[in-house]
């Protein structure tokens, strides 16, 4: 019954059948139907023109028409030193053992440093 009523009120909007009820409810909400025309909802005989017009005009717009364009990342030239460092890092990442060995070396270096400065 509700779907039929919405279909009648929203005629001309060419809505797919499965969306009539939802679009109708959205329109009812946006035009403040229950507040402004409290007795018009589901009344098939006396739907005020103003209400019907407001219902047809009310629809949700999540965004304006799309104007699709591309935004392609461009490589940043990091400079020779940083590039070399980057390549080394990527190589290290492929060899987890190397990474672990470097961490150990760092730890040993720190130990040696502390040993040296406290002599």
């Amino acid at each position: 019954m509700m779907d039929e009523w919405f279909a009648t009120v929203l005629k001309g909007k060419n809505l797919p059948p499965d969306r009539i009820a939802t679009e109708g409810r959205v329109a009812l909400l946006l035009c403040d139907g229950p507040q402004k025309w409290p007795y018009a909802f589901l009344d098939s005989r006396t739907v005020p023109d103003e209400f019907a017009t407001a219902m047809r005009a009310s629809e949700i717009e999540v965004g304006p028409d799309m104007a699709v364009s591309s935004m392609v990342p461009r490589e940043i030239d990091l400079g020779p030193i940083t590039e070399a460092a980057g390549e080394t890092l990527e190589r290290i990442e492929k060899w987890p053992v190397l990474r672990l060995a470097m961490l150990w070396a760092l730890f040993l270096g720190a130990l040696f440093g502390i040993f040296y400065v406290t002599r």
Binding site: R25, E59, I60, E61, I114
Partner: protein
């Protein structure tokens, strides 16, 4: 650059800009050299500089140079303000009294991620109304770009958006876009917007979820862009607002009182080589799309991979492409919120640390302007300096330890008098260096206070002369106590980042409620307290005079738990406000927009929260149960034609949801249902048609609760 070059405003001549920068860098150089002289002399006094002392000296130079940068910037800013302001400002390119610059299409974009929905949409309402009052609304569209991945949050955002559109008659002007896949976080969110709608707009104003900008400030930004076709980005200097806790109030007071001289100084030497801070800024869309799509860095996270702190890099890329980037430091009506507590601030630093450290890759990138390299380097140093400072202090302790073991001439170097070009000054060398450092750290603050206090009208905006001085003294004490805590936090973050521990994009807690509790404070600061105690006791045993030198650092660490708790208290913040402490002009004379927002939010937070049993899945409840919310939600979903297999899977999920309740579904399954229009339509129908005996107890409770809370025919939508 493809923008018209006619009527381009002539900014500062290159020679003058070079002179300004020479002055800035020379000041930094001279200050650092002088301090290094004292330090080297101090280290030399035991008969030369050994290996450890060389390390100490190098660390000192790096750390002191950073202090000198801040001091030089502030002093230049003070000089500029004192002579009546800089003529070379982006805001001076438009005659605001007589010119009515025609505006252009502008999108106001607000990326959000699981933020307080009331705050986001009430903030947007205030901005919308303020812009409406300028009479220039026809040039603007609003976009809420949601990456929220919690079902409740998502539905609340949709509800709030629909209701806001209805209330302000903003249908067709305020838009809401929810991304299905949150690729590349905030930068990816904005890039997605640009790919869809970027071509429709000449400019976009980027806001943060807690940003507020007045209509006037937005109109001014667009006008400045129109007047300066060579400008690609204008960053404003947002004021911190709505601080409730003592910590937040102190931060906003410090930001408001001290920032003018720093900002004026920054603009003095950077000019069109400005920086981008990620929000409260206007961007020329086309060049941004052409040049600022960010590639991945070499390697994977945390060092490589996606660029997390995108803003500095985007500014550098804009400059590299020849577009000007300006700081509109003197534009009013631009605000943001700060973290409510020390722990929240540290959580934010945790995210920023990784992003800033990634910038190390880009400091030497080809084509970047020197000023941008400097910004990137300063960003890296903001965090790397903390472990360096810690290392400096630890090495100093070891150095003292060595000296105690083998004193030279029976006295310590710190106790000897200073020497300058062979003349002895009857001040202990270490004390001279200490005072010099303190001067650089605190003089900008003192000057800021004097600048305000000398004018009674200006002082009144901060609550009066007495309160300003008292507030500054308290702020200095607390910031001195917090500095070592930040040092340990950031040292830990840098260390974790180096070890490959990534950070996630967690939601910042905004608006303190009851502050940090003891448990949270002890867990977070326990290690710092312990470290401070061990360090303090050992240095006291080693040499009491050295302990007293270290005491400001030790006090901050040992007291970190109570200080963190005290500062997080909103009640103490309110007391301070009543006592006239830490007041800002935005509180003493609140702009209309902020007053309005406070009122609206107070109304919002009066609403009854859903009962405990329903709270976790309240968004889903509304989207399935309420005819209006269901309709709004479905209307925003794309029509898809799922395969037979996925239809069956969705049917099974729907059945489980209704018969077992939402608690039995994973968040992923709940989100999948919420994204499927067909399922949402079916669920709404099935729920209202099925006999209650076939529904889960949770749904029966939900229906009872819904009938109590909503009086037909008024919708349950957010009011």
């Amino acid at each position: 650059m493809n923008s018209p070059r006619t009527s381009v405003h002539q900014f500062i001549l290159p020679e003058r800009l070079r002179r300004r920068r020479a002055l800035f860098y020379t000041t930094v150089f001279l200050l650092t050299s002088t301090a290094t002289w004292f330090m080297a002399d101090l280290l030399w006094q035991d008969g030369g500089i050994n290996g450890l002392e060389w390390v100490l000296l190098v660390l000192f130079v790096i750390l002191f140079a950073q202090i000198a940068v801040g001091f030089a910037t502030a002093m230049l800013g003070f000089y500029v303000i004192n002579r009546g302001g800089d003529r070379q400002r982006i805001t001076s390119t438009v005659d605001w009294n007589s010119e009515d610059v025609p505006l252009a299409s502008t999108a106001i974009v607000m990326p959000v991620f699981n933020e307080d929905v009331s705050r986001v949409f009430e903030g947007l309402r205030v901005i919308y109304r303020s812009l409406e009052a300028t009479g220039k609304m026809e040039h603007f569209d609003f976009f809420i770009l949601s990456d929220s991945n919690k079902p409740n949050q998502w539905i609340q955002e949709e509800i709030a958006w629909a209701e806001l559109c209805k209330q302000v008659n903003g249908v067709g002007r305020i838009f809401y876009r929810k991304r299905r896949q949150q690729i590349n976080k905030k930068a990816g969110n904005v890039a997605d917007f640009l790919r869809r709608w970027g071509k429709r707009y000449r400019y976009m104003v980027v806001l943060d979820a807690d940003s507020i900008m007045t209509g006037q400030s937005i109109v001014k930004l667009v006008a400045m862009m129109q007047k300066n076709p060579q400008t690609g980005l204008i960053q404003t200097a947002p004021r911190l607002i709505y601080g409730e806790s003592l910590y937040a109030r102190m931060q906003q007071f410090a930001n408001r009182l001290y920032s003018p001289i720093f900002l004026a100084g920054l603009n003095y030497w950077q000019q069109q080589d400005g920086n981008y801070w990620g929000h409260n800024a206007i961007i020329r869309v086309q060049p941004f799309m052409d040049h600022c799509a960010l590639p991945d860095l070499p390697g994977s996270e945390p060092f490589g991979g996606r660029i997390l702190s995108h803003d500095f890099v985007e500014a550098a890329l804009m400059r590299k492409a020849g577009w000007h980037v300006w700081l509109a430091h003197d534009i009013e009506g631009t605000y943001e919120e700060g973290p409510p507590s020390l722990i929240d601030s540290a959580k934010r630093d945790r995210r920023w640390c990784q992003g800033n450290m990634q910038h190390a890759w880009l400091v030497t990138a080809r084509g970047f302007r020197p000023a941008n390299r400097f910004h990137l380097l300063m960003g890296v140093m903001a965090y790397v300096s903390c472990p360096l400072w810690l290392l400096f202090l630890v090495l100093s302790t070891i150095h003292v330890f060595n000296q105690v073991l083998a004193p030279i001439g029976g006295e310590l170097a710190t106790e000897r008098y200073a020497r300058l070009f062979g003349h002895m000054i009857e001040v202990p060398e270490a004390l001279a260096l200490f005072l010099f450092t303190m001067l650089l750290l605190f003089l900008p603050k003192i000057i800021s206070v004097i600048t305000v206090v000398q004018r009674s009208d200006e002082a009144a905006r901060f609550g009066g002369r007495g309160p300003v001085v008292l507030s500054t003294a308290a702020e200095i004490i607390f910031s001195a106590l917090l500095a070592p805590v930040h040092m340990l936090f950031n040292s830990k973050f840098v260390f974790f980042t180096l070890l490959g521990q990534g950070v996630s994009w967690v939601t910042q807690r905004r608006g303190a409620e009851d502050g940090t509790d003891w448990r949270e404070a002890i867990i977070t600061h326990g290690g710092q307290t312990f470290f401070g105690l061990v360090w303090g006791v050992s240095s006291f045993i080693l040499l009491p005079s050295f302990f007293w030198w270290l005491s400001p650092v030790l006090a901050g660490l040992v007291l970190s738990v109570p200080v963190s708790i005290i500062l997080s208290k909103s009640s103490l913040g309110a007391h301070a406000r009543r006592a006239g402490l830490f007041l800002t002009p935005e509180e003493v004379q609140p702009p209309h927009e902020l007053g309005r927002l406070t009122q609206n939010l107070a109304e919002c937070y009066k609403h009854m929260r859903p009962i405990e049993a329903l709270r976790n899945d309240y968004g889903l409840l509304q989207a399935v149960l309420d005819p209006y919310i269901n309709a709004v939600h479905v209307a925003m979903l794309r029509n898809r034609r799922p395969s037979e297999e996925s239809r069956e899977w969705f049917a099974l999920l729907r059945h489980r949801l209704l018969s077992e309740g939402p608690g039995q579904l994973t968040t992923k399954e709940t989100l999948a249902l919420l994204l499927d229009a067909e399922s949402m339509i079916c669920l709404h129908e099935e729920l209202w048609k099925q006999p209650s005996s076939s529904l889960a107890e949770w749904w029966r409770l939900a229906i009872r609760q819904y009938n109590v809370l909503t009086a037909a025919p008024i919708t349950a939508l957010y009011r």
